[in-house]
């Protein structure tokens, strides 16, 4: 495998009133496990169902109900761990996190505080060709999601929807290795890409499928390096946690605002208070949700309803053996096998379907040319229409069009016309070319006749061309025009040159 070399990005530096500051960011991403049933009950996880319709007795915490682990969710979490090159713990355990809220029927969330299923791993976060940040993953644990409280339906009452209650989440906790808002967004993007490749999370942020808590602190240039060397957190500033963000844009904005808020406090001689904050995108500010003193005492303890989770190494090995090709590997392979640039490879591997679409489009053809075609022609049009490439043109069509170009059956200009017609009508490119008479004229007799005709009709231009050979292009253009663009431009050019005796 081709290992791409990369350099780390420069940390974001914010100039304060007094001096420069750097950002230190760690993230806790809650990713909903792609599974039809919940973590400890058989109820459906379908999104958008009628409120309180996907609720079992266990989810509603009826008296005497007991949780039973959904093995598939465990498998998905193990797969995720393996995808992040992480340690899989064959022995893990579930703990109860106790707090009262109406959308938490049990009065506790079943989570894994003391012994998570997945240990240390890493994610390579690409910033631009040749620049990437390796972010360390501290752990991944499994836990139940809560339901949804709805406070704005009635002036006096609140409503609770328990459909989401008990849905399996993976909490993916990073080390504080992220150094700026763009990196944070790129981290979530890369994580989501990997999860989607693995099929372990749909990664739909709008549905709350992927949510991030961001821990932010600021420090003076040089402090972070001291931390990295010693792993001693005292070199870093006090952090604040911004909860529950479900958009890349908000993540970046919130980090920016929060960093500036902390810098202003520090430069004013104050101290940052460790607390949980919420980002208000309308006002563009973060505000305190609860301070350290008000923080819940969750009274974690091992859940006595569940035995420790023990899994077999052989089972882990089997999951590992069946892991799909992951984004980094695919990107490297595209560069190696198709000769595309790192940038193009990044674009083409951004999502699994596009990558497959590209590979199907290549067929027996040229990888690099196909990459250009897919990115510039197909994706360009698809993005404009806000649809996927597959929705406007089939990979077979791309392969056919590019094969015709390669065989000099059509010109690249005509190729674009064929694509347009294919997009509009769905007709097969070969049939389009045939029916619409778009085939390139390669019959030299016909081209020669056309050239002779143009020369005969324009004696003055012929004289000028003899003095200035660049004018040959004018003749080529006239011939192309006369043939409706179907003449092979290379052949036309050769014949024009010969006839004008240039």
């Amino acid at each position: 495998m081709l290992d791409l070399t990369y350099a780390p990005p420069k940390p974001k530096v914010i100039a304060g009133a007094k001096h420069d500051w750097e950002l230190v960011i760690g993230m806790e991403v809650h990713a909903q496990v792609a599974s039809r049933a919940k973590l400890f009950s058989g109820a459906s996880t379908q999104f958008g169902a009628e409120p309180n319709s996907n609720v079992s007795f266990v989810d509603a915490a009826m008296p005497g109900m007991l949780p039973v682990i959904n093995d598939f969710c465990v498998e998905q979490a193990v797969r995720t761990g393996l995808g992040l090159k992480a340690q899989i713990n064959l022995w893990s355990a579930f703990d109860r996190k106790n707090y009262f809220y109406p959308d938490l029927p049990q009065g506790y969330q079943i989570s894994q505080l003391y012994h998570p299923l997945v240990g240390e791993g890493e994610i390579l976060v690409d910033m631009e060709p040749g620049i990437a940040r390796k972010v360390r993953i501290e752990r991944i644990h499994m836990e139940q999601d809560a339901g949804k409280s709805i406070h704005d339906m009635d002036p006096n009452m609140s409503f609770v929807d328990l459909n989401r209650t008990g849905v399996a989440l993976m909490e993916i906790v990073s080390r504080p290795d992220i150094r700026g808002p763009e990196e944070a967004a790129a981290y979530v993007t890369k994580l989501r890409q990997i999860l989607r490749y693995l099929g372990t999370c749909d990664g739909n942020m709008q549905n709350g499928n992927l949510r991030a808590d961001v821990n932010i602190s600021v420090c003076r240039p040089g402090d972070y390096e001291k931390y990295m060397e010693s792993q001693d957190f005292s070199h870093l500033g006090t952090r604040c946690e911004i909860k529950n963000m479900n958009s890349m844009r908000f993540i970046q904005q919130a980090i920016e605002h929060e960093a500036r808020r902390q810098i202003a406090i520090l430069e004013g001689g104050g101290e940052v208070v460790q607390e949980t904050r919420l980002y208000d995108p309308d006002k563009g500010e973060t505000r305190s949700m609860r301070s350290k003193e008000e923080a819940h005492d969750y009274r974690y303890f091992p859940d006595p309803d569940l035995l420790p989770l023990t899994i077999e190494q052989a089972w882990v090995d089997e999951i590992e053996a069946n892991l799909p090709e992951l984004p980094d590997e695919k990107k490297a392979r595209f560069i190696r096998d198709y000769g595309v640039t790192e940038y193009d490879a990044s674009v083409l591997t951004a999502d699994l379907d596009l990558a497959a679409y590209f590979e199907d489009s290549v067929g027996a053809g040229d990888g690099k040319k196909t990459a250009n075609w897919v990115i510039n022609e197909v994706l360009g049009r698809a993005n404009k229409a806000e649809v996927t490439a597959r929705e406007i043109a089939t990979p077979q069509a791309n392969a056919e069009i590019l094969a015709m170009v390669a065989n000099d059956e059509i010109s690249t200009k005509i190729a674009k016309d064929v694509l347009e017609i294919h997009i509009e009508t769905g007709r097969a490119p070969a049939e389009i070319v045939e029916t619409e008479g778009m085939k390139q004229v390669t019959d030299t007799g016909a081209i020669e006749a056309a050239v002779d005709q143009i020369i005969a009709d324009n004696p003055a231009q012929v004289e000028k061309a003899k003095v200035n050979p660049k004018l040959a292009g004018w003749f080529v253009g006239q011939v192309m025009k006369a043939t409706g663009g179907k003449a092979n431009p290379k052949a036309v050019n050769e014949i024009v040159q010969a006839r004008l005796e240039l």
Binding site: P67, N98, P105, Q106, D297, F301, P304, L306
Partner: protein, 494 residues
């Protein structure tokens, strides 16, 4: 005649039903009649007589058809802690007022599948927290045994079950045991009660008190009955992750009464300071009986015993504080009426203040405290370590060849209702001193009536067995029962 039928043991009733000497309908009617006349015992708190009659008719048809499992047609009382479909199931708590589950607990479903007839729901301490059945929202259950003017406790938490079986209101009853809640009331009422190995009976559908300690078990008139009924209750349940996937043997077939060569351990740490002489004497008599039956008596040490009670009263409340968090007034049961302007916090506080009794509130607070940041290691984690050591004590005894351990079941005979009301709660907790170790170690334990005290009240002895060897334990208990020859019944005063 009708009123005598209910006095049968389960084994007798089974044989009579199979022989066609009586019908389940008759037997059920006999029990319902006795229940109707036993209001003073306050044992049955939810009447399911219509259901019982229908189930009896079904059972009779099954018996006629020759498809009669042991329990078929046997009228049973069910502790209110078990969720029973369509029937009030409120763990003797106001907070579950009006709650009728849409599901049936695995244990009662097993009993039903075996043809058992449910007579009604039985009184108990609220959420199984108590040793005297005085914390119940239904009021005290009363012990059918009485030697003077005083009304006595049937023990707790399965006080209603014990009273009902002892007073022949039913043939047998279900109980649950978290720290002694089957064995102590069994001892106080002169009946047999077994807490099986943790994981033997499914906890699914039983209102949870302390999940790592709770086990269901039968409360019966004889050891044989306990063997029969446990067989019907037990079994692997995939809906309970802590349920053991271990086959259930034919326990009754293991009752040979032959215990020759068995090693019975007598733990010196159970000889508590200040233990009443009659308890001491009973224990010695029991030891002699087993020796006479051919068992080898061996003095053993279970050195961490003295830490068991404090450890138990950390772990059980800790789990309870979390298990009872779901009773918040949001989805079912009692919900407090709120004043204008009051919100969710007031709803929680008022609902739980109104819904839970004093003992439950105490344990929820204790449990919350021991799990709190800063106290967790000092209390909860320490208690878990003690628990491990207690289990190791037992393991070592068993590894050294001990087959069963004999101890008193309780430190006293039944005491008067209200007698402890002004006492320090810890005085009440001391009732569990011989029984909690068994729950902490997850072992099977059985209480066998072994004699009367000077005042004429029943006393029980406890046998503790190896994990999953209830059959062997029941056989030792059977030998003890035969030797003790306890046949006394409470005189009917109610």
């Amino acid at each position: 005649m009708m009123s005598d039928m209910s006095k049968m043991t389960l084994a007798q009733a089974r044989d009579a039903l199979r022989a066609g000497e009586l019908t389940s309908a008759e037997l059920t009617e006999s029990c319902l009649e006795r229940i109707g006349a036993a209001g003073a015992l306050n044992a049955f708190v939810h009447d399911t007589s219509d259901l019982a009659r229908a189930q009896a008719t079904e059972a009779d048809a099954r018996i006629q058809a020759g498809d009669a499992p042991d329990l078929c047609g046997i009228p049973l009382g069910i502790k209110d802690l078990f969720c029973t479909e369509g029937v009030p199931s409120q763990a003797a708590s106001r907070i579950l007022e009006g709650f009728r589950p849409q599901y049936e607990s695995t244990v009662t479903r097993n009993l039903r599948a075996a043809g058992g007839v449910m007579l009604g729901k039985l009184n108990m301490d609220e959420f199984a927290m108590g040793s005297s059945n005085e914390t119940s929202v239904y009021g005290d259950a009363v012990n059918p045994w009485k030697v003077d003017d005083r009304a006595l406790t049937p023990g707790g938490s399965s006080g209603g079950s014990a009273a009902a079986v002892a007073a022949d209101l039913c043939i047998a009853a279900t109980g649950t045991d978290t720290g002694g809640s089957i064995r102590q009331p069994a001892a106080f009422t002169g009946i047999v009660g077994i807490k099986p190995t943790y994981g033997r009976c499914s906890r699914w559908g039983i209102v949870a008190f302390a999940s790592s300690l709770d086990q269901a078990g039968p409360m019966t008139k004889s050891v044989r009955d306990a063997a029969i009924m446990l067989g019907a209750m037990a079994g692997h349940d995939p809906m309970d992750s802590t349920s053991a996937d271990i086959p259930v043997p034919d326990f009754e077939a293991m009752l040979t009464g032959d215990i020759r060569g068995k090693v019975i351990g007598i733990p010196r740490e159970y000889r508590m300071e200040g233990m009443p002489e009659e308890i001491e004497a009973l224990w010695s008599r029991g030891t002699e009986m087993l020796r006479d039956a051919g068992a080898e008596i061996r003095d053993i040490s279970l050195p961490h015993t003295k830490y068991a009670l404090p450890a138990y009263y950390v772990i059980a409340p800790a789990e309870a504080s979390s298990n009872l968090a779901r009773y918040d007034g949001v989805r079912y049961g009692h919900r407090a009426t709120l004043e204008a302007g009051e919100g969710i916090t007031e709803m929680y506080e008022k609902t739980r203040a109104e819904g839970f009794g004093a003992e439950v509130q105490r344990r929820v607070m204790v449990g919350t405290y021991v799990l709190s940041a800063g106290f967790y290691d000092a209390y909860y984690n320490r208690a878990r370590k003690v628990r491990t050591l207690i289990k190791r004590d037992f393991d070592q005894a068993f590894e050294a060849g001990v087959d069963a351990i004999l101890t008193p079941a309780t430190p006293s005979a039944a005491f008067g209702l209200d007698e402890m009301s002004d006492a320090d709660p810890v005085q009440m907790y001391l009732n569990d001193v011989f029984t909690v170790t068994v729950n902490l170690a997850g072992l099977p334990g059985i209480s066998v009536p072994a004699g009367l005290n000077g005042a004429g009240l029943p006393l029980g002895l406890q046998l503790i067995g190896r994990p999953w060897e209830e059959g062997d334990l029941l056989n030792t208990a059977y030998a003890l029962e035969s030797a003790a020859g306890f046949v006394e019944k409470p005189a009917q005063w109610w």
